[in-house]
Symmetry: C2
DNA sequence: CTGTTAGCGCTTTCAT
DNA sequence: ATGAAAGCGCTAACAG
């Protein structure tokens, strides 16, 4: 059973006494030879233990591999346990599997897409990669690119209307012009620091997702006639419970203590909730909190979080479909506000 | 900035007026030319927008790609949200990233490893793939193979001593020769059915992980002088809450009702716990339950589950290291019994 | 329907 | 230190 001879298209053709083009055609272009002939050849190959043209050579020749790189925001190790990212991967892979396309996980912390670029048919990027050089490389690559939750020039993309969603949720959280509002932002700065954002860098190019959300918050704040002090915005560099806790603590121990906290992710909001609870304060009476994402855990927290729910798996499906259809348009998918008990208790 | 000309080693060599061997050496074999010369060349390449040898061609030529396929037990879509599988992936990727090796996720439900075999340096397999043909293909491939939580002939492997662990945990659960024991097995049969296992197929070849655990259970049962009726073993085809619930219900509604339930995964045990609770019964007073795996959720359940804890991330690390070191040995890693309140209430 | 052949882009002897 | 040339295994014109 364990056939050791390793055949090539050429050697198998010689063995069968036919030309290699015929063997190639038998495997790749059924219309180029009679059905009967084809089946004979395929059967002989199987019998001899030749499992078809070498894919690496085929890919070199055809420039197509049926592999797509999924570029994660950060290292695989880090992202694989993030519920939002996992859902996205799930969505992508479920669509790709149907088309027999395989998925290469690629870290957003990598130095260079070149390591895999020649192997894949293109890139699906979930969120802005931690290494900003990758964005530049993705912008200039000749391969297909689809982005989700961020944009690159004229590449296909999928995501929700972040500004509108942020506006909607903060509209709910803010109740009076006297509210003291704090914003816990996710990657507002291009920095690893967990710190206050006194002034924002001028937004060159496409605004990031964080900036869009911020714009939505600010619009709602203005409409309420409330004010956002310039020491009330925090930058959280990555989606991690530990880091979020640090920022939460900093915000909650600032004086005067804010009574509305707008969080750019549920993970952050959950950390805030935990910290508020530890301080013996009450949500929503003392402090109102809203999140962003709508992860399962947010609905199971006490109190359940009021947040923007977006369907990450569906987003993954969409991204994969855009990729397969070689689309170049920007798709905006719906979101909904999930009413918990962190704004109104009833 | 967006250099459109796409260079090849040949064309860039001509442009620079040097031989292509020299360019190749500049990139791959620093010892073959003077440091100064090399740096000049590299700099010129960068300036012209040539980012180095095409990896696909390089891989065809060298037979090495720095990509490894991670073969999951089932579809990516399905496995990515499984906490145990995710931890394993995390462990694998954290080690591989350090060696600049990329990870291709491969579904255990695929038809054929050929789809990716020629692209990768080998396979790391987590658990027995759902499609048994893959096992045969992995057995005969010339590529490197490392398995985790199951074995293939003489391939490197990593895992715990499943029989001993099953023995240890069931030794704890069983208390008298009169105990009425049920076993909820995971993939005891090569079938998609959730059903009782009246008789086990003769174990040809290497016993599966499920069979090893079963052997451990049986040994403990025998030592206690208890009996395992032949209608007391269930087969659960896949690790899913829904399917586990069905089996749990079937076991718990059988007459007489078993008072000890040995589960081959925590997911199953949690479903059992949920069902017992729904029936208004008490754990451990009415029924004792033990699991297998030690997922986080098991320690947070009420009551917390008594189970075998194995470190999946560490297992992933180990698998990746075995792969990189081209090992061929079987590594047995430690486990520990996690004492919850599903055997004794105190 | 079949065979011949020129590459895809690269690495690696071997000779210079 | 460098250049010429033979492939790695395959596909797609093209000619028959």
């Amino acid at each position: 059973m364990s056939e050791q001879k390793s055949w090539t298209l050429k050697s198998i053709a010689k063995e069968l006494g036919i030309s290699n083009a015929t063997v190639s055609n038998a495997f790749n272009r059924p219309d180029q030879l009679s059905k009967k002939r084809r089946e004979e050849i395929l059967e002989s190959c199987q019998k001899l233990g030749y499992s078809g043209p070498n894919k690496a050579a085929q890919s070199l020749r055809k420039g197509q591999s049926n592999i797509v790189a999924l570029v994660l925001p950060d290292s695989v190790e880090y992202m694989i346990s993030d519920p939002v990212a996992s859902d996205f991967v799930k969505g992508v892979s479920s669509v790709l599997e149907k088309s027999n396309v395989n998925l290469l996980l690629f870290s957003g912390a990598s130095e260079n897409i070149n390591a895999v670029s020649d192997f894949v048919d293109g890139f699906i990027c979930y969120g802005s990669p931690r290494n900003p050089n990758l964005v530049e490389q993705l912008r200039t690559t000749a391969k297909k690119v689809v982005t989700a939750d961020f944009d690159i020039d004229r590449k296909a993309s999928v995501g929700i209307d972040n500004e509108q969603a942020a506006y909607d949720i903060s509209k709910l959280a803010i109740k009076s012009k006297n509210d003291d509002i704090a914003i816990l932002g996710l990657r507002l700065l291009d920095s690893n620091l967990t710190c206050r954002v006194y002034e924002l860098p001028d937004d060159e190019g496409t605004p990031s997702i964080a900036h869009k959300r911020l714009a939505g918050y600010q619009k709602a704040i203005k409409e309420h006639g409330a004010e956002l002090r310039n020491d009330r915005i925090w930058n959280i560099p990555k989606s991690s419970h530990e880091v979020a806790l640090i920022a939460a603590r900093e915000a909650l121990t600032s004086t005067p203590r804010p009574n509305v906290i707008l969080c750019m992710s549920d993970l952050i909001a959950l950390a805030v909730l935990q910290e508020i609870c530890a301080m013996g304060l009450n949500v929503p009476n003392d402090i109102r909190v809203v999140g962003f994402d709508g992860i399962d855990e947010a609905s199971r927290s006490t109190p359940p979080l009021t947040t923007v729910h977006q369907n990450s798996e569906e987003k993954g499906n969409m991204a994969a479909e855009l990729f397969i259809n070689r689309a170049t348009n920007a798709v905006v998918i719906p979101y909904h506000i999930e009413i918990g008990h962190t704004v109104n208790s009833n």
